[in-house]
Each structure stands twice: as structure tokens, then as C-alpha cells.
Symmetry: C2
Subunit: 372 residues, 2 copies
């Protein structure tokens, strides 16, 4: 918990009023007062401050209530009052996206990947200049990376593709910028990105690409685990795997991943796109491969549902865009394996998910850090 002082209650109420206007716009000062339990005088003061800083606008008079009374001045949120920068550092590309507060993309650029911090910082600076966004309006930078991250310290614990091991990216890159910077795992970011457009407090995000990973949001917060390793579903294993001598050992890791991910198809000489687009077109071998994939995936999703009772499971990652042909099948199977209901859907953000989610993460952090 944080200590309480006058500054804190000021910030709290500013944020509270701003969030209320954002969610319930158009709304008058009097309505805000009733809704939040703050006095009308306080709301007036707060709103005047928000108006001055251009966080909100006056939209015009509203309607009178039945029985008369002065019309209230409707207030609206200004999405251009703040911008976030999202950086998705991938194995081959670095995607930089700048959005406003409504998650509308105002700028996007893709650079070749690198592990040189100065180069990355230059990419970010360049994008910020090119975007033409008022730098004073930028609230922070979020960075997503495909590896294990200590989100407290900003240290990349392991990211072999870029040669980072126990490398404190945050400390290295912070000196280049005066904005707060937040680093997290790319799958966690993608999950937050999906959550940004599709509010929910309890969801599981599955990323199926060449490998498989997951992110968990419970009680509205990311579950990162004791050592930031939560979501490593690539390691899942079952009795049949063990019966066949499969194990997660140093030679071969990812028992589940080798059967449910792009890797599973590649091992057989196929691409995920190819097999999925040829499903149920008369080739027995392909049908069998997919059926196994769907079966094991559905069982796993069902068990996750029984375990965490999420509102929804979102499937993303490179392979997900080919999964339309089997998504109904998956839903049906999951419903037959567990009697806890769950929504299952494919991700909607595509390759932007990581960068957008990084912004969502930065935004979440800034909002929460101040009041906890």
C-alpha cells in the first residue's frame, strides 16, 4: 500500500472523474457528482482543471430532466489528450505503434530487429518525430519482447533469439527517454491488447505460432507467477505422453508444444496454413493431423476453463488466422469436456497485438502505480 496524503486524494479524484467522463460521456458535472459521491463543488474544481489541460471538452447543453431545472453542460473525453508508444521487439522485426487514448493507431512503422539498445532507442525517437505527435502529450512507452521478463526490474531473464540473458533492458533504454517505460513479455502484452478492445477481468490468451504460449488475466490483473514464468503451457504433458516416453528434459523441451503449435506441422513437413486450408478436403492424413491437434488443444482449453473459470479464451498468434475452419469444432469439444461455460474466440488484433498491448500495459501501469 502507498501512504496517503493530499496529493494522493487529488490524483485519485482527478483520475476518477476523468475515467467517468471517458466511460459515460456525454455526462454533466452534476451527474458525475451523483455517480461518484463527490460534492458538486469538488467536481467543478476538478473539471475546470481537466478542461484547462484539454483532457476533456464541453460538448454543449444537454436535456432537462422531467419537471424542469437548468440544463447540464455535457462533458466529453478528448482521446487526443494522450498518446502511448508501443514497441514489439520480435525475432525478425521491431514494430512501433503510436495510439491515442482510444487505442486508435496514429502511426506505425516496422524496422528490422536488433539487440542494440541505442538503435532501438533511435527507432523509437524517429517514429515519435515522424508521427508529428506533441511529445508533451506522450504518457509512456511500453515494450514487449518474446522472452522471460522480470517486469518489476525491467530485466530480460532469457531471450536467446536476441542474445539477451539477465539483461536489464529497462535500465539500458530509460536514459534515452524522459517518459516512463514498461517492459513485459510479448504474449502478456498481446493479451492486454485484446483486453483493451474487449474488456474483461478474467481471460486466458493463447498464442499459437511456431510455438505455443499463454497469458492469464485474473481479477483484472496479469498473472505473472512467482518468477514471471506463468503461462508456459508449452510444457504441458499428459499420461499418454509419458506412456510414450516423452519428457520435458534438456534435450527436448515442450511436450505439448511439439504436438499443438506450428512446430507440430513443420515436423511433418507441412506449414500450418497448408494443412488447415486443406482440412476435410479428402486427404485422410491431413484430417488426422488436424483432428489430433484440435483434440489435444480442446482438452487443454477445457482443463484451463475448469481450473480458472475465465470469461473467455482468446486464441491468437500466427497460426490463429488459419483456425477459422476448426474454431466451431473446438468450441463444441470444449463444451463437451467441461461443464463450466466459457467463450472462445480468435484474436482480432493480428500482428499489431504485441505493440498495441504494450501500450495497454503501460497505460494500466501508470493508472495503477499512482494509487497502490
Amino acid at each position: 500500500m502507498k501512504k496517503g496524503n493530499l496529493d494522493l486524494i487529488k490524483k485519485m479524484n482527478r483520475t476518477l472523474v476523468l475515467e467517468t467522463i471517458r466511460r459515460d460521456q456525454p455526462i454533466s458535472r452534476a451527474s458525475i457528482s451523483k455517480k461518484l459521491g463527490l460534492s458538486r463543488s469538488t467536481v467543478t474544481l476538478v473539471v475546470n482543471e481537466l478542461l484547462e489541460k484539454k483532457f476533456v471538452f464541453e460538448l454543449g447543453l444537454g436535456d432537462s430532466t422531467v419537471g424542469g431545472g437548468r440544463k447540464g453542460m455535457k462533458l466529453g473525453f478528448n482521446p487526443k489528450s494522450g498518446y502511448g508508444v508501443g514497441v514489439d521487439i520480435g525475432r525478425s522485426n521491431i514494430i512501433i505503434i503510436i495510439t491515442d487514448m482510444d487505442s486508435d493507431i496514429v502511426f506505425k512503422e516496422i524496422y528490422p530487429s536488433t539487440n542494440n539498445v541505442e538503435t532501438i532507442a533511435n527507432y523509437i525517437s524517429t517514429s515519435m518525430s515522424k508521427s508529428g505527435v506533441d511529445t508533451k502529450r506522450i504518457f509512456g512507452i511500453g515494450i514487449g519482447v518474446p522472452g522471460l521478463v522480470n517486469t518489476r526490474s525491467g530485466e530480460i531473464i532469457e531471450l536467446s533469439a536476441l542474445g539477451w540473458k539477465n539483461f536489464n533492458l529497462l535500465e539500458q533504454i530509460q536514459p534515452y527517454f524522459k517518459y516512463p517505460i514498461f517492459v513485459n513479455n510479448d504474449v502478456n502484452c498481446a493479451a492486454l491488447g485484446e483486453r483493451w478492445v474487449d474488456k474483461t477481468d478474467n481471460m486466458i490468451f493463447i498464442a499459437i505460432g511456431s510455438g505455443i504460449g499463454s497469458a492469464i488475466i485474473a481479477n483484472g490483473d496479469l498473472v505473472e507467477g512467482h518468477h514471471f514464468s506463468a503461462g508456459e503451457i508449452n510444457l504441458f504433458i499428459d499420461r499418454e505422453d509419458i506412456k510414450h516416453g516423452k519428457e520435458n528434459n534438456s534435450e527436448s523441451i515442450g511436450v505439448f508444444e511439439q504436438q499443438v503449435s506450428g512446430l507440430a506441422f513443420e515436423k511433418l513437413g507441412y506449414s500450418a496454413e497448408f494443412v488447415l486450408s486443406n482440412y476435410k478436403k479428402g486427404q485422410k492424413e491431413i484430417d488426422q493431423i488436424i483432428d489430433q491437434f484440435v483434440n489435444y488443444l480442446s482438452i487443454t482449453l477445457a482443463n484451463m476453463t475448469s481450473f480458472l473459470n475465465p470469461e473467455k479464451i482468446v486464441i491468437g498468434g500466427g497460426v490463429s488466422k488459419s483456425l477459422n475452419v476448426v474454431i466451431e469444432d473446438i468450441k463444441q469439444k470444449v463444451a463437451s469436456f467441461t461443464n463450466i461455460p466459457v467463450e472462445i474466440e480468435l484474436a482480432c488484433l493480428g500482428s499489431d497485438a504485441g505493440a498495441l498491448g504494450a501500450i495497454a500495459y503501460a497505460f494500466d501501469k501508470i493508472q495503477n502505480e499512482d494509487f497502490m
Copy 2:
């Protein structure tokens, strides 16, 4: 979020100082000030108030620092400043426990179970009188029940053993008491109970009795799921189950539970105690039963570990007290199935876990509710 006002910051700082004294006692006013960033004058005011209300005591002068200076007056927490009442409504018994703030049991009584609210309220009132505890010092009542609970409304969604379905226990029993009352699932309570004595922010609690259930604590909070159904691991299922035609359907529910719980042994005509105490004593059939049990349990614990990266998994419930003979085996197996490290231990609270945990739950709620 809650609105901010002067009352809030006062409460926050009172709680903050009290918690600091509790954790770091003996500690002086000056040290508290440094630790929390509050001014010495504020700490003085707060401590005086806490002294007046007998939440803390002055213990005597401490040591001077090197180089001289006035000795600080050491402050200590008074565990007898507050008492909690825990009620574990079981299928056959109702256990009522009263503890002080250090979770020391000052009173315990066991009554026969009933679904009559007035009778339960009488049990609680009787126990409170008998205990001799100053009623002004009681901060709240926690109630644990073996069923699905909407912890927000206090409604018991389903508890067939006592004939409760969509029954709002909180609304029914609150009129009998002026203390805040909190209701939760018994396994969730037991998990909080274990966590009370063994602080951790990320743990999974498994209750193995005649059935099997679990509770999850992530980021320091209970994970209850979208509809309070999280932890239903009795429904787990794997490819081998499906191959053998097992399913979680209306006729037979709990595919995993039927193989890993007391039920699994009873189905074969044995008690859990009997088979476990006769493990590796020359009876092949028993050894095989246990091996299967341990294998499937270990696989499941490993997958939970890969998924949530908990600091520890605690195994409780009626069967757990017979599990000593296989706990080492389980630890070894889990470590071979996942390379995410996790501590595995047997629960230490026994049959008191539910009632104690209910107190821990009430305590958590009261501390958090005021500042969120």
C-alpha cells in the same frame, strides 16, 4: 477505485503504521517515519491514536545508534486488540473458532451441522459469549461452506448437501450480528488459512478428501473466476480418459476426481487411509492403485505449475494426512514433468483450516475494502 477524501488518507496511514508495527516490531516512531516516508509529526499523531485504542503498546527504550542520539521508544503490536470469528459449515459438523490477530486460537467449539440459519446464528453467539472475548474487539465473522459461493452478494449458488441453492446466506444471517460478515467457499478459506501462517502471493491449494478441489492465490488475491467456479479440478480430463469413453456429463461428473481422490479408493472397496498405510508392503494391487494415483496427481500438479508458476502447492484435505508416504515421490515426479521449480508441501492446519481461513478471509477483506 474509491473516491479520495481526508478520511481515506487518515485510514490508509493508520493501517499502514499499524501494519508496519505488526510486521517490524519492535520499532520506534522515527524508524516508522523513515520506512513509510511519513513525517515524524504525523507518525506521532497516528501512534498516539493507536496507543489510545490499545492497538499498540510502548515496549521500552531501544538502543542508541552509533554516534549517540536519543534512544527511540520501541512500539509493539497488541495481538489481543482484535479478534475474528471463523465458521466452517461442513456437511456433518460446524466448526467455530475465535482467534486473536496473531491467529492464535482462543476458543473452539464443534456443533452438529444444520441448514437452519437461526440455529447457526445461535451457535455463533453462544461461542462468542463462552469465549469471554470483549465483543467490541471483534472485527468480523468469516464463514466457509462446501459449495459454490458468490462472494460479492453472499449468495450460496449451490450446496446440495445442505439443500441450499441460490440461497443468500449473507442476507439471512447478517441481521443477527452487527459485525461485518463474509462468506466464501471452504477450499478457498482453507487456502487463505494456510497462507496466513505461511505468507506467499502465489500458491495453489489442493484439497483431497472424498472428492478433490482447489483454490488459487495469484498476485496475493484469491482467483475466483468469472462465475466463482475457479478451482474445479475435479473436472480435469485427458486424452486417455477420452479414449476410454470417460466424460463429464450429467450422469457422471468428475473424471479426474474419480481417479484422484478418496472416491477412487472407495470405488475399489478401500479407504484412503488403508491403501496409503499399506503402500509398498508387498501387496501388488495396492501398490498399483497408489502408483496410478500418484502419477496422475503429479502430472496435474506439474501442469498447474507450468501454467501458473506458483511459489508453492499445498496439499490439504482429509486424505492429505495419509500422504506422507508418497509426498517425496510426488515432488520428484513433478520436477521431472516440468522444469519450472515449485515447492510442494502438505497442509499444516488440518481440520481447523476452513474456520481459520474464514477468519483470514474476513481479515483480508476488511483491510482491503476500505482502500479500494
